[in-house]
Structure formats: C-alpha cells, structure tokens
C-alpha cells in the first residue's frame, strides 16, 4: 500500500520556483532516492515532506492522512524519523543518552520530573544501538565519535520513534567511501526487515544505484524521470540533462559494483 504520497507539490521563493508539481508515491519497505543536479529542488521537496517547509500548494499524505504544513515535531509523532545532511545530535550526552532522549520523547515523557533520565529506556536504547552496530560505544560522549559513527547513532535516534517512514537528507555526505556503502547497506537491511519506507536524497551515485528501489530525477524543480535504477540509467533524457559524461561513468561503475 502507499505509505507516503506527494501530490502536486509546489514551492516558490519569491520569483524562484523551487518545486513544480512534484508528485510521487512510496510504499512501505521501499527505498526511494531523489536525485538531481545542485539547485534541482531536492532539499526543498524533502523539507516539504518533513515539515521544515510548508508547500505553496499541493498535499503530502502519510498513510492516507494529510500532513501538509505540520511542524516537524508533529510529523515525527505521526511516524516519520529523520536524519540530517550534517548530523544533528545532543553533544553534551553520551551515545546511549542520545537514543534514550529520543525514546523519552517517543513515549511522551519529556515533562516527567520524577524519573531518572539516565536509566530510563536504557535497555531499549542499547538494543537500537546494537542494530546499528554501535552498542560498544554506548557510554562514550557522542562528540568523541568519528563522523561515520555519529551518522549510525543518528540512524538509531531516528529509529527510536518506531517510524513508518525515514527521511534521510544526503545520508552519506561527509563520509569515507567504505563507510558510505556500509551505512546504506545497514539502512536498506533495517528498512526491509521492518517494512519502513525510506526517502533519501543523495549525491553519491554509487549509493543511489546500489540501494534505491526506485529513483526520482528532479531538474529545475520538475520531475523528469521516475522508475527503477535500470530504467532511469537507460533514460536518454536523464543521461543528457543530468548524468552527463562523468555521471554516466558513475552509473557504469555502480553497475559493476552491484553485479561484480
């Protein structure tokens, strides 16, 4: 069934049209990548789904419910987890503390003035950290971790709210190539296992072609192609407008990666 549906989303900033009639659908357990050159409207589209931006017109439906223009905290409560292009974590807390905080928020206990925050939901937090392979680092300050590990913890934070949908804005930005592949593989495994839909934007074509079930190509705010990685890769207009020569090479490299 359709988990997320964007219907004719438009966003104008003054005279600039950042998104024009962008429509797409995403099923549970599916990974949908939004790609496009710089300024194509990827982040705008993304932020309209996540609640950071209100669309000028159009609707966003989550499992049939209209979430257009709701603030991020309410979008979260309805089952949308999110990671950011530059990881956003609670720097003064430990790794486990970060995930515990997300669990406290998920269980609606942020106004609790009696319980002890340090021990609340600790077991659940450790289980989530184990899923992303960060259980050993549970008691380290998050500021000490390598960036790739911070991204994994951020994924655990996003999963704490038991989301139906994960929004990941350039999940592998700023990471080393080997870490990128590992993070994307981890995300794909978790998403398929739990039936979570994943919407992500990405500059790294290897990551996109290796892990996306479907790809949405935006150029100047408009959808120019949508479909399986194979069909998008073969689409002559995508090759001409977006991939160009070097992108084509990346696509070939990705194909070798997946088949070999």
């Amino acid at each position: 069934m359709t988990l997320l549906a964007a219907e004719k989303l438009n966003k104008r900033f003054g005279g600039v049209v950042a998104a024009k009639d962008v429509s797409f659908a995403l099923a549970a357990g599916e990974m949908l990548a939004i790609i496009g050159p710089n300024g194509a409207g990827k982040s705008t589209t993304f932020n309209m789904v996540g609640g950071q931006l209100a669309p000028s017109s159009g609707r966003v439906l989550l499992a049939g419910q209209d979430i257009t223009g709701l603030p991020p905290r309410q979008v979260c409560k309805l089952g949308v987890g999110r990671t950011f292009q530059v990881a956003q974590t609670f720097l003064s807390m430990s790794v486990a503390g970060n995930v515990q905080m997300a669990l406290i928020a998920h269980h609606g206990r942020t106004r609790d003035v009696v319980a002890d925050a340090a021990s609340l939901y600790r077991a659940e937090a450790l289980a989530l950290l184990a899923q992303v392979g960060m259980a050993e680092a549970a008691d380290r300050p998050i500021g000490e971790l390598a960036y790739g590990d911070v991204k994994r913890v951020e994924l655990a934070i996003a999963l704490a709210a038991a989301p139906k949908l994960l929004l990941m804005d350039e999940p592998t930005a700023g990471m080393a190539p080997r870490e990128r592949a590992a993070l994307m593989q981890l995300t794909a495994n978790i998403a398929r296992e739990k039936g979570i839909g994943v919407l992500f934007t990405e500059h790294d074509m290897d990551a996109v072609f290796a892990h996306a079930d479907r790809i949405l190509v935006l150029v100047r705010g408009e959808v120019i192609a949508e479909g399986s990685p194979e069909s998008v890769r073969a689409n002559p207009e995508v090759q001409r407008v977006y991939l160009g020569q070097s992108g084509h090479k990346a696509a070939l490299r990705a194909r070798r990666g997946t088949h070999g």
């Binding site: 603030p71 003064s92 106004r111 003035v113 934070i157």
Partner: protein, 617 residues
C-alpha cells in the same frame, strides 16, 4: 488639545528620537561588526556628557561663540572615541570568541568600573552644563514656544544618518563595516585586517555615544545614573530596529520618540512599559527586528556553554555535602548574629542562583533579568504582609506563585526568541517590572520601598528564621536538582544542544522552555519572598539590573558547567561581597574588575577548579 500643541509635542518627540538615534547607531554598528552587545556603550554616553561639562565651559571662557561650543562637543566625543579604542584593544579583542553571556558580563564589568571612576573623578553631585550660545532662545511654532536647541537636535539625527550613509557607501572602511555585518568570517577570509576594522568600529561607536552624551548637556545635568538608563533605551531601539541595522535604529528611534511624547499624555505613568511592550510585540512578529536580518547559520555545532554532565555524588562529594549541611545547621549554635545573617542570605542567594543556572546552564536560556522574578516574589510577600495584613506563612506561599506567574507571562514571549535577542528581551521585561515598582508609588512605595516586612512571631528570632530559610532553600535546590536529572531536565539540555534534532524527535521546544522559565521564576520568587522577610523591607533594587548581574556573577564564579556550581558561587560571591563592601568605597570597581578577570582567566569558575583537582587526585 489644539493642533499647535500636538505639533510641538511631536517635535519634542523627534528631538529625543534624534538623540536616541545618535547613541543607538553606535551600539548597532559595534554589534554588527563585532557581534558583541556592548553594555559599556551607556558608559561612553555618560563619559561624553561629563567630558563636555568639563571641556565646554572652559572653552566658552575664551569666547561665548557657538563655534567653540560645538568644538567642545566634538572634542569630548573624540576623547570618548579614543577610550573606545582602549577598551577594544585591552578587553574586547579577548572576547570575540567567548560565548555571548560572557561578553555581556565582561562589558558590564566595564560599566561598574566606569561608574566608580566617574564618581571618583567628578564626585557624586550632578553637574549642569552650559546652554548652547546662539540656540538659547525659543522659537514660536503655531502659537507655542519651542526651544531652538531642540530644533537643532532634530536636525542632528538625520545629519548623522546621512553622514553614516556616506561613510558606509563611499569609503572603503564603511564598505568593510557593511561586509563584516553581513558575514564576518568571509571578510576575514578575504584577508582584511580585522584588528584595524574592529578598532576603527569601536572608535566610531564610542564617538557616537560620546557625541550623544555631549549634545545632552544643555538639556540634562551630567549624573552618574545616565549610563544604565540610556543603555536600556538604546538596547530597545537597536533590538526593535534590528541589531546591526543603522536605518532600522533610525526608524525605531522615531517610533519610540513619538510613542514617548504622546504616550505621556495618555498614560503618564507607564511610558516605560509602553516602550517595552512595543519591543515585545515587534520581537514576536519580527524576531530579528524591523529591518534586521536573521543570524547567519552557524557551522558545525559547538559544545554548548552550560551543564555538560550530570554525575552522581561520589564519596568525596557526599562528604563535602554532609559537611556543608552540618555547617549550615550549626551556624546558629556557634556563630554570632552577624554570621547567622550572612549564612541566611547565602542560602537565599544559593536558591536564586541555582534557579538561574537551571535556565542558563541546563536550558541554554540566557536570562539577563532573573532579578525580576526574585524581586516580584519579594514584593508579593512584602505587600501582602504590610498592605494586605496577612501573616508570613501565606505570604511565603504567594511569593513563588507570583514569581512563577510573571515568569509564565514574560516567558511566553521570551521563549519565542533565542541568543542575544532573548537576553535583551529578558532584560527589557525586568526593566518593566523595575519601572512599575519604582513608579507606582502609592502601592509600592516607589524608590523607598516598603518597610516592616517581619516574619510571624514564632520565626522572628534570627536563629529560627535561619532554620526556616535553610529548610525552604535546601528543599528547593534539591527539588530543582532532581528535575535536572529527570527526563524534563534532559529534554531541556537536548533542546539546548540541538533545537533541530529535538524538534525532529517530537519535542515541543518552546513549550518545554516556557515551563522551565516558569519553574525557575517560581524558585526565584520563593528566594525573593524569604529575602524580603530576612531584610524586613523591599525596594526596587531587588529587581534592578545590578541584582540580575549579581546572580550571573554567582554562576560565573561557581562555574555554570556543573550542577552544583551555582551554590558554591553564591556562597563565595556573597561572603566576599559582604566582607569587602564595608572596607572600600570602590566596591563596584573591584566587582567589575573581578567579573572581567573571571571571564578572561577563570571562565569555568570554582567548580571547574574543583573538577581539575579531582582529576589530578
């Protein structure tokens, strides 16, 4: 009310707007380039006035010509400009990288030092200035007489605005100022000599403040309270106009000038309140002021300035805690009356400072007006006992309720902002509360306050009252400390660390901050109520800016990175103050210098030193 009267009223509003703009333009320029909100700008204004009442009469002795008068004014402003350069080189350069709370405190240290220096140099008596030759007469406007000097002042504002526009658009220095206001790091990356740019900006800013002060001498006598009264007004103008925007400051000054001159006709008692109300409304509708721009987004997140870890008490801490508790309870047994009094006050300030660190250290909500809730608690208790005829017990219950109620009311606006704008708004609300207590003489007793706030008979002895205070404050601190360790406290730290992340995991950041503000206001109100009974009186200094600064200085001294630092800071600060203040006439100078020294060389305070000691052991 005839037409001529309205015109004259409006003209006098323009005259004060013009003066206010000259001062505020300097403040906003300095903020734009250095990102420092310079409390000492009011001191520059005061120094300008004192310089002018010294230099101008001396010059007029040679020849009573308008030319010499204005030469004197410009010389005074230039001298103040040089003082601005001295301040930049000696102090501000060391502050550009420290958190804004520390910047505000350090520049307030300069305010305190200048206040004592002015008293020492010029004495406590107000000094009237000479009238301006050639502008002493009145002008007939629509049947009303209007002073010629005021007409001249009306022209000064637009003239300064025009000259600043030329400077900013036609000179290299001005273009650099504009560029730095937009993006300071980029200007640095382009290889601009920042040291020269910042020093030059401080000269210009201090010059404008000094000019504003010197131009006032025909209207008001130079006095040692000019600094704080003008700085709050100048803050309001820059905040409403948008910090860093010179045209914004002009617009805001005109609006406030008119609001003041017509407001005084309609609501003569509450003109100050009107101005701050305008500021609150503007900030809620346009959080960066009328013509301001949002702060450029910061790069990678830095570790916040505040409580970073919430450790349990270890064996050593338990021993220290036990010793302190026993000592607190033993003071009435072994100490004399004076020691008991000091210990009682230390407990009260410990609760107030702890509640402030709950906001600042734990929540990242830098309140510059915490004394408001302390003072409103004191006034609620004091007025209920003296005017309401109630006994102490219900009054002590009313104190935290009053503190919390006003914190809830003011906090509703405060939590919509962040950073320096938030600090300015808390300051503004504290000034509203101060103005009401000061001006509403029939109820509050005005400047003199109210005496006869005595405890009930059973608690009237110093010793029993000490135990009452100890019970309230220790329980209060323990309860707040518990909240810091509870999910609510953790949520506040989370929102402080990353608002974006907190939002994305479903936290309503504003609502939690509002609750925290209310809770801290309640605790401060309780402390204030107890303080009223310990003093036996209430007066407006309880909610003044210096009181708020005292609380912040306690945090600074104790170290705001730790949970219990505020308590140690309150104890150390109050004992030192109580010991030194009778010994010196220059307590403020000493306090100001100490605050600056703390910021520069000891920013983690006593608890930071203790932590270092523990790590070495």
């Amino acid at each position: 009310m005839d037409f001529g009267f309205l015109v004259v009223q409006s003209l006098s509003g323009l005259a004060s707007a013009s003066s206010l703009f000259v001062i505020a333009s300097g403040l906003t320029l300095v903020f734009g380039v250095t990102r420092i909100v310079n409390f000492a700008h009011g001191s520059f204004y005061m120094l300008g006035a004192y310089m002018a009442v010294t230099v101008v009469p001396w010059l007029l002795d040679f020849d009573r010509s308008p030319l010499l008068f204005f030469c004197g004014v410009l010389i005074s402003a230039a001298v103040v400009g040089v003082l601005g350069v001295v301040m930049e080189v000696l102090l501000l350069r060391r502050l550009y990288k420290v958190p804004e709370l520390f910047q505000l405190l350090a520049t307030f240290g300069v305010v305190l030092m200048v206040q004592d220096a002015v008293l020492w140099l010029w004495g406590p008596v107000e000094i009237p200035g000479p009238r301006a030759p050639g502008l002493r007469h009145g002008v007939e406007i629509l049947g009303q007489r209007f002073p010629a000097y005021e007409l001249f002042l009306i022209c000064v504002g637009p003239a300064v605005l025009g000259l600043l526009w030329l400077l900013m658009h036609r000179t290299r220095f001005g273009i650099l100022i504009r560029a730095a206001t937009r993006d300071r790091e980029m200007v640095g990356a382009l290889g601009v000599n920042q040291a020269m740019l910042f020093t030059g900006t401080l000269f210009l800013g201090a010059f404008l403040a000094g000019l504003g002060g010197a131009l006032q001498i025909p209207r008001v006598s130079a006095n040692s309270q000019m600094d704080l009264s003008i700085i709050t007004e100048a803050f309001v103008v820059t905040v409403i106009g948008g910090m860093g925007s010179v045209p914004g400051a002009f617009l805001a000054a005109v609006i406030i000038g008119q609001l003041n001159s017509f407001g005084v006709l309609i609501f003569p008692k509450i003109t100050l309140v009107l101005v701050f109300l305008l500021m609150a409304v503007v900030l809620v509708v346009k959080p960066w002021g009328l013509l301001g721009r949002p702060e450029a987004a910061a790069g990678r997140a830095a570790l916040p300035e505040g409580i970073l870890a919430t450790p349990r008490f270890g064996p050593w801490e338990k021993v220290i805690l036990a010793v302190v508790l026993v000592a607190t309870l033993a003071v009435p047994v072994f100490g004399d009356a004076y020691t008991v009094k000091v210990a009682t006050e230390v407990l009260i300030f410990a609760l107030a400072a702890f509640s402030l660190n709950f906001l600042v250290g734990n929540g990242g909500i830098v309140s510059f007006g915490h004394a408001a809730y302390f003072g409103l608690g004191a006034y609620a208790a004091g007025l209920l006992v003296t005017k309401g005829g109630l006994p102490m017990e219900p009054a002590l219950i009313a104190a935290p309720i009053a503190g919390a109620a006003f914190a809830a009311l003011f906090g509703f606006f405060v939590v919509r902002l962040s950073g320096i704008y938030l600090a300015m708004l808390t300051l503004a609300f504290a000034q509203i509360a101060y103005a009401v207590c000061f001006q509403w003489v029939e109820v509050t007793g005005g400047d003199n306050g109210v005496v006869g706030v005595w405890p009930s008979a059973w608690a009237r002895s110093r010793d029993v009252f000490h135990y009452l205070v100890a019970a309230c404050c220790i329980l209060g601190i323990a309860a707040l400390r518990h909240v810091i360790y509870a999910p609510f406290g953790a949520t506040l730290r989370a929102a402080r660390d990353s608002e974006q992340r907190a939002d994305a995991i479903g936290i309503d950041v504003r609502m939690h901050r509002w609750l925290a503000f209310t809770l801290a206001g309640g605790a401060a109100g309780l402390a204030g109520g107890l303080y009223a009974f310990s003093k036996g009186s209430i007066d407006p200094t309880l909610l003044s800016i210096p009181m708020s600064i005292d609380f912040l200085a306690m945090l600074l001294l104790g170290g705001m990175q730790t949970v219990m630092g505020a308590v140690a800071g309150a104890a150390a600060f109050h004992t030192i103050k109580d010991f030194f203040m009778p010994l010196t006439d220059h307590w403020r100078f000493f306090l100001g210098a100490s605050i600056i020294a703390l910021v520069l060389i000891f920013p983690r305070g006593l608890s930071g030193a203790y932590g270092a000691l523990r790590r070495r052991a």
